[in-house]
């Protein structure tokens, strides 16, 4: 038998993730390895805009996208059929992309928001924000951290979230901050598909079988009380609207409501008559539900175990 030098070809197939030494920083394995999603983009803060306020606002919008992307990605390999598995994974990917841009924008606007990492860590600011912040530092609404429930709960939540976010991103295309405006313009194209997807499934489930309708009605009732937080103006949004780079979500309510009403009417489903869950401090001020801790534990565990990006 021919002798074979195992040392010559035993290299792990994963070695490629680290790349050659000159490229190492670019091969950070947790993200999509483009170390700065805003590389070369002019991130100068416009006159009249406070960097800290802009960073807080971008973090908030980025966290909504990041946390929801993580939740939706839990459907991967679990969705009712292959097409919806792919659809939900794609929607999660779009939101993750928006999250990276928004978190990178936040870090560029105010580097103080980025958690400190050991010297020499290759982890870029957007990944540091995603993986190394503690729960109270996340500013997403509670609605996106809640567990997925069944497919009907997921569709009801996606319809409400995508309808709100599409209206918001459309308004943000005229943000005083050109970076936020560009991120929003791109997001509008993506979220249009998300809203259509959720809207079609909403109608299909409503007009499907007795069981699908029962589940949809129950799903809508599950997510409805948390939905109110999206249009409740927080301090960060008030400041953002005042400085003309952001939107007071209260001013979107009518527009969002008209779309939801149209879907409900087409589906023959009544608007739930339920009060908002929670009137005190909610997700926008870092007060999260039990589900958030478990989500973060899973999302952050690998990165936190390897702050130097190697193992």
């Amino acid at each position: 038998m021919e002798s074979h030098d195992l040392d010559l070809d035993h290299d792990s197939v994963y070695d490629g993730l680290l790349g050659d030494s000159s490229q190492q920083a670019s091969q950070w394995a947790f993200g999509t390895d483009f170390e700065d999603p805003l590389a070369g983009v002019d991130t100068t803060i416009p006159a009249g805009v406070d960097g800290a306020a802009l960073a807080a606002y971008c973090l908030m919008l980025g966290d909504d996208a990041l946390i929801y992307a993580h939740r939706l990605s839990e459907w991967t390999s679990n969705a009712p059929d292959l097409e919806d598995d792919i659809a939900l994974a794609n929607i999660a990917l779009d939101l993750l992309g928006q999250a990276r841009l928004l978190l990178a924008r936040a870090a560029a606007a105010d580097p103080r928001v980025v958690p400190p990492l050991p010297d020499g860590s290759p982890i870029p600011p957007d990944d540091a924000l995603a993986f190394f912040r503690e729960e109270p530092a996340f500013r997403n609404v509670r609605m996106v951290e809640a567990t997925n429930g069944d497919f009907a709960v997921t569709i009801a939540r996606l319809l409400l979230f995508a309808t709100h976010r599409l209206a918001l991103l459309q308004r943000l295309t005229t943000s005083l901050d050109p970076v936020l405006s560009a991120i929003a313009a791109k997001g509008v194209k993506e979220v249009t598909y998300h809203r259509d997807y959720a809207g079609r499934w909403f109608v299909t489930l409503a007009r499907g079988t007795e069981e699908s309708r029962r589940r949809l009605v129950a799903g809508l009732r599950t997510v409805w009380p948390m939905y109110a937080e999206l249009s409740r103006r927080c301090e960060t949004e008030a400041l953002a609207a005042e400085q003309a780079f952001g939107v007071d979500p209260g001013t979107l309510a009518d527009e969002v409501d008209a779309v939801i009403e149209h879907v409900l009417a087409t589906s023959g489903i009544e608007r739930p008559d339920l009060p908002p869950s929670g009137t005190g401090p909610l997700g926008r001020s870092g007060h999260h539900t039990e589900a958030m801790g478990k989500l973060l534990a899973e999302m952050q565990v690998v990165a936190r175990a390897h702050p130097m990006g190697k193992w």
Partner: protein
């Protein structure tokens, strides 16, 4: 290593292909926005098709390697977010290549106010394999962010359609 010749950086960058749809160059796809050459230094600007497009890093690395191999000493790849990429930027040549490779090219991107479409989109497209117009949408989302899934009712083959955005 050959030494760079004036104006050739664009020609080199134009040979780099999309990692997900390798029949298309980055020029065909419309993501290569600018190539500026100053001596041995090249600055390339690309734009993402979708915010979460995971191919961006590979495009960046491929551009850098191609230009370094062509003899440029310093290659900087930058991102441009505005204006946002539109499927209208796929060139005529790119559309022909998609079709030759069994993919359906996008129609005109939507313009004007964003509308909610509660019924399945009806695109006037033909099967890229047999040419039949008797096709059905199986999913608005496909194997990459930029594609929808279709099936031809005539030849029964599934195919991918590059979405309009």
């Amino acid at each position: 290593m050959s030494s760079p010749r004036g104006g050739s950086a664009l020609a080199v960058a134009a040979t780099v292909t999309d990692p997900e749809m390798p029949m298309l160059t980055l020029v065909d796809l419309g993501v290569l926005r600018d190539v500026v050459e100053e001596g041995e230094r090249v600055t390339v600007t690309i734009t993402p098709t979708y915010s979460g497009c995971p191919a961006m890093a590979t495009m960046r690395d491929d551009l850098r390697h191609a230009l370094l191999d062509a003899g440029y000493a310093d290659v900087d790849v930058r991102i441009s977010l505005s204006p946002a990429w539109s499927s209208d930027w796929i060139t005529e040549g790119g559309r022909r290549k998609l079709s030759t490779h069994g993919l359906s090219a996008p129609g005109p991107a939507p313009t004007g106010p964003v509308t909610l479409t509660l019924t399945p989109l009806r695109r006037p497209i033909d099967c890229p394999r047999c040419g039949s117009a008797d096709v059905e949408l199986t999913s608005e989302f496909g194997p990459t962010a930029c594609k929808a899934l279709y099936r031809c009712r005539a030849c029964l083959d599934p195919f991918e359609h590059v979405k309009e955005i």
